[in-house]
Amino acid sequence: MTQPLEMLIETPSQTGGPYVHIGCIPSFAGVEGIYPEDLGLSPIAKGARGEAITVTGSIYDGTGWAMRDAMLESWQADAAGLHPGQQGADPNVSGFCRFAADKDSGEFTLKTVKPGPVMGRDGPLMAPHISLWIVARGINIGLNTRVYFDDEDNSADPLLARIEQRHRVDTLIAKTTGVGAYRFDVRLQGEGETVFLDL
């Protein structure tokens, strides 16, 4: 026998289901009047420093269908690479956004400022990136991934460096489509499956 470790176990996840919007973005779901507005409408406030960007994309299921019912959350650093709450962080960057795939087209849009490189853990700087969390009906535990940018130097990023099959790195890189505009599609399964993270 040994001493007990006395650790608790994390509560198991369950799917957000088809009505996750009622709980998280009720106005979007048509449930009006309980809260003044939905939480996380924008990750930035007026005056946020840095380059304004728009990331647009879709989330495709294993059949290639752009999902209409997904909800996403993003979390990011400010233009200087500081996370909200850290000393010196831009007070106009909350860093958090909640958004959903469009009910008709399945497309989502994130308007924010481009984050700066972020200090990693005991290692090299991480290339600018936005953390994404995706929930939907049929997703039993929320999926984590990251959005990197094709016009940044991603060569020394410690997370991207861990991807053995180098062609899969591309699934985490948003592609420039215009000035300050990027495309980032997520594929849950099959050909071009996005790299999802466990960290």
């Binding site: 650790m7 608790l8 176990i9 994390e10 509560t11 198991p12 996840s13 369950q14 799917t15 289901g17 088809p18 009505y19 996750v20 919007h21 009622i22 709980g23 998280c24 009720p26 779901a29 048509g30 449930v31 009047g33 309980i34 809260y35 939480l39 299921d61 294993g62 019912d69 959350e73 979390w75 996370h83 909200p84 860093g95 958090f96 972020v118 990693g120 853990r121 005991d122 991480m126 990136h129 953390s131 969390w133 009906r137 049929g138 997703i139 039993n140 535990i141 929320g142 984590n144 990251r146 861990r162 991807i163 849950l188 399964q189 499956e193 996005t194 790299v195 993270l197 466990d198 960290l199």
Partner: protein
Amino acid sequence: MNDKAALMPRRREAHPVPYWPDYKTSVTRSPSLPLLSMESTPSEETGPRFGHSLIGPLDNNLIVNYTGGKAPAVGERIRVHGRVLDETGRPVPQTLVEIWQANAGGRYRHIKDTYFAPLDPNFGGCGRTLTDADGFYEFMTIRPGAYPWPNRANDWRPMHVHFSIFGHAFGQRLISQMYFEGDPLIDRCPIMATIRDRSQIERLVAPLDMQNSRAMDYLAYKFDIVLRGRRQTMFENKPEGM
């Protein structure tokens, strides 16, 4: 506790399997390749924080929050309460807990819910609150009805309340569901069955808590939630050059 400490790795065996053919939607929505594992970084160890100014006085009372206190929702009045802790047993204070649920007839206020049970004009179906300094939270609501859903030929969801919890780090983010003690539909639910560990299933089933019920008013159900913890950090500050 050091807010910069690494998160404990997620114990994936404690969670549902992503691919479960009896839950048909999961078949095309589950990644087929392994996840990329790495120690957490500041991007996962930090996260959004919400203050009391966000929360309205009726936000955690689903019985009345849709009508602004004018008229109560139909249904069995219940109180759902518990604590948010992390894997080390420490309370998680000041963290946002959001819930949503069907009405007493098992119908959601949602354009896609076409079940013919009626909408309740006095019930919206969502609420939120912040945990207190000791990690406690509570909601007043009505017991949600079980409802049928298109999956296998005749599948019904047990009575359940959906929960969304933030913690203090983006890597702690969790969505789950609370079920009710004694519901015979729990063991017939293919979504419940995505959790393969029986003891983990039981952790989603809230016991009836008579001691915290109020006579002639409401029944209480206790539902504690555990989020990922952070590693102890005594040896974290490596001397130069090591």
